[in-house]
């Protein structure tokens, strides 16, 4: 056979690339619109308008960094940030700790595992509004925990976090952790189950105790799971709003204000859109600060198809 690439029958034209996988492209249109218009467009719009003096209606009336200046001199914002930092710190640590410990307990081949797992996970199915109200009721000093303990005879016992500005964030934490730790437990459990059985055997042969194995061997191996959990927790923390609204509404005073609430209050209640946009831009920045290292660890480190 002669090589006949020049005969017409044997040359075929390369089809237009644009129409390749056309169905896939059409099917992706909703995603593209969402990504471009809502996420990129919406965010950009907000950032742009945070440099304006918009009040009730968005107006392109430039005021430079005024909104940011004011933001960072506002007590409420500072308190919100501090609260969020406090809540975030403890929520991350405690949720991870509780989630991991519970997962480790459940991983010990115990009886009734699925019952316990269900108990730990069910709060996740409830909304923050429900969570907030339930805990508001339990923490009510006149009827709830405090009065229960007092009725046992310890009459000076005081535990009313929702009315004490100093510890109100812990009142929120109790509820937040109650709601969120189950999911983390679930993820950790899956992570633990994914660890090669042989590692446990190797550690046993090496004579390493159970707890030490967890701390020295297993936890470092679960790094990706911890990172996933951390990102999940962190993204939830930044959005913290519903719980505060339902449980304390920022009170007492402004002791439990959080940034998300600041944004919404200023955008809609105080009718100072510019201020709200500036605050939400700050929130965006903090998310970016969290996301970049994560994205780097997750996607930058190892290249996968």
């Amino acid at each position: 056979m002669t090589v006949a690439s020049d005969t017409p029958a044997r040359t075929a034209k390369r089809p237009n690339r644009l129409f390749k996988n056309l169905s896939a492209k059409i099917a992706s249109i909703p995603m593209i619109i969402t990504a471009l218009f809502v996420f990129v467009g919406g965010t950009t719009w907000t950032v742009v308008y945070s440099f304006t003096g918009s009040r009730m209606l968005p107006k392109l009336q430039w005021v430079g960094l005024d909104q940011y200046d004011r933001l960072w001199t506002s007590d409420r914002w500072i308190i919100s940030i501090k609260n969020l930092a406090l809540y975030g710190f403890f929520s991350m640590i405690l949720t991870l700790l509780i989630g991991f410990c519970l997962a480790a307990c459940l991983d010990r081949k115990i009886r009734f595992e699925s019952a316990f797992r269900t108990i730990f996970l069910y709060p996740f199915a409830l909304s923050f509004v429900v969570t907030g109200l339930a805990w508001q009721w339990i923490l009510n000093p006149d009827f709830g925990l405090q009065s229960l303990v007092r009725s046992t005879g310890w009459s000076t016992f005081t535990f009313d976090p929702l009315n004490n500005p100093d510890i109100v964030m812990f009142g929120l934490l109790i509820a937040g952790i109650w709601q969120g730790s189950g999911l983390i437990m679930c993820i950790m459990l899956a992570g633990l189950r994914g660890i090669d059985e042989d590692i446990w055997k190797a550690a046993k042969v090496d004579g390493i105790g159970t707890i030490k194995t967890y701390v020295v061997v297993i936890i470092p191996m679960m790094r990706p799971v911890f990172i996933t959990s951390l990102v999940l927790i962190a993204s939830g923390i930044i959005k913290l709003y519903d719980l505060v609204r339902a449980q304390t509404d920022g009170g007492p005073g402004i002791a439990s204000e959080v940034p998300a609430k600041y944004v919404i209050d200023y955008m809609f209640q105080a009718q100072n859109l510019g201020q709200g946009f500036a605050a939400s831009t700050m929130m965006l920045c903090s998310v970016v600060i969290i996301l970049i290292p994560w994205a780097y660890l997750e996607f930058g480190g190892k290249k996968r198809g």
Partner: protein
């Protein structure tokens, strides 16, 4: 006393599933024992019982004469190497090697000495400061062996240590492992389902099936005098040729075929009964040598597989398929008819019913 590991009447069940049944095994000091069997036959389970990673349901285990049935794995004087390596991924190779020792509160200089020695034996000195993630499969497996080595144990347990490696590396590490055993002279118990590994490594092979040991013997015994039909069929690739027939006063008969079993080493006085005869493909002689064979047949060639070093021929011998291993240079073609010869003294005879060797 010469027994390194003794297993007495071992039973093991997972819930209702009996995996090991009244198993007995004596392993001598310095012996290289291979547990061979198809998947799910209980090899790993037995190994884990010896290591103390599974609690026995009944029976006893002795290591170096000590009853270790209730002892912790770390107290049994064993080291174990896993198929998946099971290295601690976040520790360096040095950390992996020394972790167990540190935990046993062994003084630092001693640890260093032992790590250095193991690294030297296994030639992994340049890798000591790397993490397992930065090692190739073969290097990882060497580190895993090292982890057992540093613990100065009496008994090494290997659970399919080479299964995750590619063919070439497997051969290399197999040879290395054999050399290591020659050098250390420790007792080694090695689980595999690869018969080549078993044949080449073992001092003795225990062929297992369904939680029982079918035959325990040297590779030569196992290969040439399989105790029963299962072992005969399981060992060897391509597998043994079997022909069913009857033993009639020392003559094997199957259809037109009549083969006097002169020269066959009967285990007891032969009794007439239905039997199966087994002949290994490479014990079928061809070419000029046929003339010398006690028995000669004609066979139709069905398919030829050249394998380089030798050639496999699939032939038709009467109604039976017959596999013949020939020289790599043999020039035969499908469709030809060739003369083949069989030497009954190299064949194996099994009782059809009990499947035991006669």
């Amino acid at each position: 006393m010469t027994n390194s590991v003794e297993i007495r009447n071992l039973d093991l069940s997972f819930g209702a599933v009996e995996v090991l049944r009244n198993l007995n095994l004596d392993i001598q000091d310095g012996e290289f024992i291979v547990l061979l069997g198809s998947s799910g036959c209980g090899k790993s389970t037995l190994l884990n019982c010896i290591a103390g990673l599974l609690e026995v349901t009944a029976g006893q285990i002795f290591i170096k004469g000590q009853n270790v049935t209730w002892a912790e794995p770390s107290e049994r004087g064993i080291g174990m190497v896993f198929q998946s390596y099971a290295l601690y991924p976040q520790m360096t190779v040095r950390g992996n090697l020394s972790f167990g020792l540190k935990n046993a509160k062994i003084p630092k200089p001693e640890i260093e000495k032992r790590v250095a020695r193991a690294a030297e034996i296994l030639q992994i000195e340049p890798l000591l400061n790397r993490k397992p993630g930065a090692l190739s499969g073969g290097q990882r497996q060497r580190v895993a062996i090292g982890r057992a080595l540093v613990r100065d144990v009496d008994v090494f347990l290997f659970d399919e240590p080479l299964s995750n490696l590619d063919a070439k590396l497997r051969v290399d590490l197999r040879v290395e492992l054999k050399r290591l055993h020659n050098q250390l002279q420790n007792t080694m118990i090695y689980v595999t389902h690869d018969q080549v590994e078993a044949m080449t490594l073992a001092d003795r092979i225990a062929v297992m099936k369904g939680g029982n040991i079918m035959q325990l013997g040297t590779p030569d015994e196992i290969y040439n005098q399989p105790r029963n039909l299962y072992v005969a069929d399981f060992i060897g690739s391509p597998s043994m040729n079997f022909i069913s027939g009857n033993l009639e006063s020392g003559v094997f008969k199957s259809g037109d075929l009549a083969m006097p079993m002169t020269g066959y080493d009967f285990m007891s006085q032969p009794v007439d009964r239905p039997v199966v005869i087994g002949i290994r493909p490479e014990h079928v002689v061809t070419g000029e040598l046929v003339a010398n064979a006690p028995l000669q047949f004609e066979a139709n060639i069905d398919l030829v597989e050249p394998m380089g070093s030798d050639t496999l021929v699939y032939a038709q011998l009467g109604p039976e398929n017959f596999r013949i291993r020939m020289d790599g240079q043999a020039k035969v073609k499908a469709g030809e008819t060739i003369a083949i010869g069989i030497d009954p003294s190299r064949a194996s005879l099994f009782d059809t019913k009990s499947e035991a060797r006669l």
